[in-house]
């Protein structure tokens, strides 16, 4: 992984249209600004991982098709 040191109000460019800025540093917390085209989705990583995990759980269901269908016939 590339590691760059930045100070407050300094930025990093990813390509020519994504800018990551350091807005505020408070103890253990850093506030980051992200300027990117609307077509680029930005996620907090933990949300991203949770959604990946949830899809995997949905695929890994041990229930049969019939028992799932039954739930929708009530």
């Amino acid at each position: 992984m590339l590691a760059l040191s930045r100070r407050i109000n300094e930025s990093i460019m990813l390509g020519n249209d994504i800018e990551i800025s350091i807005l505020e540093i408070k103890g253990e917390q850093v506030k980051i600004g992200i300027k990117a085209p609307n077509s680029v989705p930005v996620y907090r990583k933990e949300i991203f991982l949770q959604i990946q995990e949830e899809n995997k759980k949905a695929v890994a269901s041990e229930q049969t098709k019939e028992s799932i269908e039954q739930l929708f016939k009530l």
Binding site: N55, K57, V59, E62, I68, L74
Partner: protein, 155 residues
């Protein structure tokens, strides 16, 4: 084309039923081609169907129409995120949510945070993260589906 599926055996699928997810879906980014399969014995198209990968037999997710469990479901999605679905309007967009059914069936949930959006005009699909802060990844639905209706004991 003949497709091996997890729940429906081998099915003969018309090419125009193939839905392309250019970015795949979360956790399965490498699989891009899917079909929606459901039990055709039912009189009407059932609420529950399966998003089956064309290229991997074991990859199938149960998906359902979200308004059955949340009539007011109204996901907010950045328009730009839907651009790769091609031209669409309200009539051609279909929104589904994935259903997770664990061993303890009463703990079943749907993912309201990351619905599957399909443009039936172009047969392109995408799983998007919605901006609604209160939509949960694990929204419990067992009570809603079974609550107050007879037949609950049968499960």
């Amino acid at each position: 084309m003949l497709v091996k599926t997890r729940y429906f055996g081998e099915v003969d699928l018309d090419d125009d039923k193939v839905i392309t997810f250019d970015s795949g879906i979360f956790g399965f980014e490498e699989y891009k081609r899917y079909a929606l399969l459901f039990n055709s014995d039912a009189e009407n198209r059932p609420t529950i169907s399966w998003l089956q990968s064309i290229d991997e037999e074991s990859l199938a997710l149960p998906v359902m129409i979200p308004t059955v469990v949340m009539p007011e479901y109204n996901p907010i999605v950045e328009d730009e995120l839907l651009k790769n679905l091609g031209e669409y309007d309200d009539n051609t967009l279909s929104v589904l949510v994935t259903v997770t059914v664990p061993k303890e069936i009463e703990n079943m949930t749907v993912n309201l945070k990351a619905p599957i959006v399909i443009n039936t005009a172009t047969m392109k699909g995408s799983q998007v993260v919605v901006e609604n802060a209160d939509y949960e990844i694990k929204f419990p639905v067992f009570e809603i589906l079974t609550g107050g209706k007879k037949g609950k004991e049968e499960i």
